[in-house]
């Protein structure tokens, strides 16, 4: 056990930032070139938007700078990880750089904090990030905004690293809004498409609602604890905040608003499905693996506060469970392959929230990590499929939707690697042993059922039921996705089918690596209770409870509070039976569900999108239209706000305020007009009046 000396931690976020600057320069050069050609073309009356061939170095440089910066950051992270693992670090290592904000009333340092939690997050961000960057080299190769894409992506990684490495809540907020910004830019990457630009804007604004909550929480922390850095807050919180007190509850609820915004939980989840407008690797990195899990990270990071506020924790869990179920139902009836995955992400994030809300912080992080593997893989796989579909449809100029699963089918022959890897991910997310999702999801569901946080035992029992149903639904919609995409006969069209092909190596290699991770990722944290059973390989799996032990220094304090006040966890599920039994039931149910769904969807006669109408039946229609939530929000929030804005402008500003100002002016104008009636303009008249006046004054004096 040696002392842990962080190795150039500042360089880890700096490298992606430098990558951003490099790629950003290239992007601007490319943009200026493109604009010049466009103007030249417009002058000649040609219509050739976005199809101008850039010089080869415009392709080559970003391909190296983008992934290179992330790769270097990943290596550095790995070195730090090894150092940390060797040292047995207890207290977080904080590296201070400069006084960021120092007003005399508050002092916030630009400081990075390396501890076990941020390390896990950094590994996921740079690791999965690297794979997705490499994948993007293949996926985005032909896009005219290639350099710009990598610039944004690098910037995103920078902000994400700031988010998890920052040593204070304001610094986390910098990353928090920064990733939101990058998400905005990347969702609207193809900004010429109105819908895509709209989706980006929606994401930003909805996220801002969450950020509002986060900000208020920071203010509350500052006024109640006098500190906003982690060390100060978590040091003071147990003493200054009463367990279950209103301040602690308020702080956690406001933090929850922030987390719900970023992690797409009810009621702020609506932006994430629309966010699928961005390039697919972006969906994989930002909207599945990293950014959207920031809310979970936030709750775990602030676990001390949440442990002090059982009501806040219970709300987190309840919202998580509701979201998990709600989003899963919508995913059942979507045809766009990315939409299914988007709602699946929302649902899985709900699971994580449920876990951390139940006080199972490690389980939440565990699912976060495995989810990054398999959902990243699913999105990249979907990206490969869309890439291929797009090429096929483009080759014959067919105007079909490249993302509609009804237009796919039978792709397993054309794209075997994608098929196999996505299959593994599907089994993982469905929760089948021994894939990664099995362990993590099982742990969350188990803790949700076992939690008794501060008198909310009954609630958690109900949530446990919800979680089970949502887990079954997960298996159904994922199997449906796999069947519609890869099985049955091809529906793309005969000529098009010839152009369907497997993705290039630069894309399939990241897929394969993620598949391996989805397969074995669960071994990070095989619960001790399962260790000796068949699910733990009868003790063969070596890493039992590794993550639990790794994160212990971070979650220790929260767990202590939790146990001393809330009374720990039940040892049996609400329906009786121990962990091993329920693990068996879970994987069994999942297997059966997968099987049944496979049969029933395979038998269904699926027609291409152009030949099938809207779904029949009330329930199906409701699900297809996503419970009409977007429409509801539009009626209840968006339009009234716009209406109020118009009234404020037209009536209050122009008529009420400006009207009264102009009215004052009119009064004086009228007075002036009255006075002007006495003016003849003839000097003699004036002189006469003057004389009369003089005589009058003289008379008055004499008398």
């Amino acid at each position: 056990m040696t002392e842990f000396h962080p190795l150039l931690p500042g360089l880890i976020p700096l490298l992606p930032l430098l990558g951003f600057l490099g790629n950003g320069m290239l992007a601007l050069v490319a943009g200026v070139r493109g604009a010049a050609e466009l103007r030249a073309g417009a002058g000649a009356g040609k219509e050739k938007l976005g199809e101008l061939a850039p010089p080869p170095w415009m392709r080559g440089l970003p391909s190296w700078i983008g992934p290179g910066a992330i790769g270097a950051a990943f290596l550095l992270t790995l070195m730090n990880f090894v150092g940390m693992a060797r040292s047995g670090l207890e207290a977080p290592a904080i590296v201070r750089y400069w006084d960021w904000i120092s007003t005399g009333g508050i002092r916030i340092e630009a400081a990075l904090q390396l501890d076990q939690l941020s390390m896990i997050m950094m590994l996921v961000i740079t690791g999965v990030g690297l794979l997705i960057h490499v994948f993007s080299v293949g996926y985005m190769r032909e896009d005219p905004g290639y350099a710009r894409y990598f610039a944004y992506l690098n910037l995103f990684v920078f902000f994400m690293l700031v988010l998890v490495m920052g040593a204070s809540f304001p610094l986390m907020f910098v990353g928090w809004e920064g990733v939101g910004l990058c998400s905005y830019l990347l969702i609207g990457f193809w900004f010429e498409d109105r819908e895509k630009a709209d989706a980006g804007k929606k994401a930003f604004i909805v996220n801002r609602i969450g950020d509002f909550g986060f900000l208020v929480a920071i203010f509350l922390l500052f006024t109640s604890l006098g500190a906003v850095d982690y060390a100060g807050v978590f040091g003071a919180a147990p003493e200054l905040l009463a367990y279950g007190g209103s301040t602690a509850t308020a702080i956690t609820l406001f933090l929850l608003i922030g987390a719900a915004g970023k992690s797409a939980q009810i009621p702020l989840y609506v932006w994430l499905p629309d966010a699928m407008a961005g390039p697919t690797p972006v969906s994989a990195l930002i909207h599945a693996a990293t950014m959207v899990t920031a809310g979970v990270y936030l709750v775990v990071r602030a676990s001390v506060l949440f442990a002090l506020a059982p009501a806040g924790s219970a709300t987190v869990a309840a919202i998580g469970a509701a979201t998990a179920l709600f989003a899963a139902t919508i995913a059942l009836q979507q045809y766009d392959i990315k939409k299914v995955l988007a709602y699946s992400t929302v649902s899985q994030l709900g699971f994580m929230f449920m876990g951390v809300g139940a006080g199972a912080y490690v389980a939440g992080v565990f699912h976060l990590v495995t989810h990054a593997f398999f959902k990243g893989l699913l999105f990249l796989g979907a990206g490969a499929v869309i890439h291929s579909m797009h090429h096929a449809l483009h080759a014959t100029h067919k105007d079909w939707d490249a993302q509609d699963m009804r237009n796919m089918g039978g792709l397993r022959h054309k794209m075997p690697v994608t098929w196999v890897t996505m299959g593994i991910a599907t089994l993982a997310i469905a929760g089948i042993w021994p894939f990664a999702g099995f362990f993590s999801k099982d742990e969350i569901v188990w803790y949700a059922g076992a939690a008794r946080t501060g008198g909310y035992g009954a609630l958690f029992t109900a949530l446990w039921g919800v979680a089970l149903v949502a887990a079954v639904l997960t298996a159904i919609y994922m199997t449906r996705l796999m069947v519609m995409t890869f099985y049955g006969s091809n529906r793309t069209g005969e000529r098009e089918a010839e152009h369907l092909h497997e993705a290039p190596l630069v894309m399939t290699i990241p897929l394969s690596i993620l598949a391996v991770l989805s397969l074995f990722g669960g071994w990070l944290n095989v619960p001790a209770s399962l260790q000796e059973s068949v699910f733990g390989g009868f003790g063969l799996l070596p890493m039992s409870d590794w993550l639990e032990r790794w994160l212990e220094p971070v979650t220790e304090l929260a767990q202590e509070i939790h146990l001393s006040h809330a009374g720990g966890y039940a040892t049996a599920s609400p329906l009786g039976g121990g962990a091993v039994l329920w693990a068996g039931i879970a994987t069994g149910v999942a297997l059966v569900t997968v099987g049944l769904t496979f049969r029933s969807v395979s038998k269904r006669g699926i027609r291409p999108a152009s030949e099938s109408g809207a779904p029949v039946g009330v329930v199906r229609g409701l699900l297809y239209h996503k419970w009409y939530v977007d429409e509801l929000y539009d009626r209840v929030f968006v339009r009234p706000l716009l209406g109020a804005s118009r009234i404020a402008w037209r009536w209050v500003d122009q008529i009420l305020i400006d009207g009264s100002v102009n009215a004052v002016g009119s009064v004086f104008k009228a007075l002036g007009w009255f006075g002007s009636l006495f003016q003849t303009g003839q000097v003699t008249t004036y002189a006469f009046v003057l004389t009369l006046g003089a005589l009058a004054v003289l008379g008055a004096l004499l008398l």
């Binding site: 601007l28 943009g31 200026v32 493109g34 604009a35 466009l38 103007r39 417009a42 002058g43 938007l49 400069w98 006084d99 960021w100 904000i101 120092s102 007003t103 005399g104 009333g105 508050i106 304001p170 907020f173 910098v174 928090w176 809004e177 920064g178 910004l181 905005y184 609207g188 900004f191 010429e192 498409d193 109105r194 630009a197 709209d198 804007k201 930003f204 604004i205 801002r208 950020d211 509002f212 900000l215 208020v216 920071i218 203010f219 509350l220 500052f222 006024t223 706000l641 716009l642 109020a644 804005s645 118009r646 404020a648 402008w649 209050v652 500003d653 305020i657 400006d658 100002v661 002016g665």
Partner: protein, 532 residues
Amino acid sequence: MTALLDAVGYDAWALHALVWVPVLGAIAVVLSSEERSKNVAFWCSAGVFVLSLGLWWAFDSAGPLFQLATRTVWIAPWGVSYALGIDGISLMMVLLTTLTLPLAILGSFQYIRERRRAFYALMLLLETAIVGVFVAMDLFLFYVFFELTLIPMYFIVGVWGGERRIYAAVKFFLFTALGSLLMLVGILYLYFRARAGGGAPSFYILDLLGTPLTIAEQLWLFAAFALAFAIKVPIFPLHTWLPDAHVEAPTPGSVVLAAVLLKMGTYGFLRFVLPFFPEAASHPTVVAWMLALGVIGIVYAAWVAAVQPDAKKLVAYSSVAHMGFVVIGTFALTVNGLQGGLMVMLSHGLSTGALFLLIGMLYERRHTRLISDFGGLARVAPLLATAFVVAALTSIGVPGTSGFIGEFLSILGTFERYPVTAVVATSGVIFAAYYMLPMVQRIFFNRLDRAENQRVNDLSGREAVILAPLVALMIILGAYPTPVLSRMEPAVRAIVEYVGSDGEAGALAELARGGAEVRAAAIAPIARARTP
């Protein structure tokens, strides 16, 4: 750097030079040719900016509250003196002014084609007046400069403005003149009250400070002063002159108006209203009203901004919203709140200045400001789009930009004392995105479907030179605002302590009692002048 400044005796002449060199420049402009006048004006204002940079080092944040102070007799019988001096707050305002003017002038090269000499002479006179406002240490002198800003601005809007320029110019003039005349009455009342105390007649700020006033007197005087400054800021519901003035003003006029002229209002609150009338300024009813107006301004102006068809008007309304943050930060009377308010002022100067410049550039290209006439410009003008997006994000207050620092601190400072107000104000962060992003989208994103838009040129070299320092400062101040904050801290702290104790404690009270050496040094010449 300090050694260099000492060698040239910078402290002794810097402030005089900053105030009067622009006037010399204006004379030079009048004497030069129509064609050459713009260059003369630009280089003169650029020179003033370079001169003003020395203040950054000459000002010692560990030194006395007011520095580089000088005082000479002007009108002896009335006790009017020509007194200049800066504290941390003035320092930043002066730097903002001297930075804005050359950029605004450079940005007007294309836009102003007629009567150039007159225009540039007026711009330089405006600079003199504004710098004078920020460095004047004598209330009479301050008032002269404060009113002097009106004249050039009136002509800039009224002569070089758009279609309804006369209406806008007159409205602007009447609004501000009304307020400042009431303030003049207040100034005179204060002056005679101070004189009634038995001292020699004086308009010197530190002499007037601590004048014994009953609470009723304080409230009346507060109202007179606050009205003048509230119109300038502007605070809801006195803001309607602003959108009209902005829309009709030529680009450089809008830039100066937004970036610096509005700050004279908030500066007035900090320099005069709070220290002169501490009991009134911390009176619960007054505070409640000011906070309420500030918050209404934030939310209301954001809503109104969101439905503007004209990009320039949208940005004008966003100014009102930004100034709301300054108002709440100021009247929360906490160190964080005041610092935040000041940061909002600086950041707003950068971001809104840049936005007006950019909209002006778009106008020069397309001769329209209607948002719906644009679309897809990011394709043909990527550099312009990038600059616009950065400025818009600063305006929204995204972390990493200076806008965030200001909003965060002003709301934080408010939250320390008035949490509910602060929470409502925080909703402003949502509404900022609600009005700014749709504009960005409709101008730069979406389809490039109009032939006119396809021919739009990207930034020229001159335009890039204008925008580069603004964009750079937005980012730098976002990443490392501490040097600015630490220079303003003593002044802010003095105000907070003084007002918080109803004028009894703190550095300002000490100055008012004549304890500080600054005052003694400043008074020496005037005392000599009095003795026959």
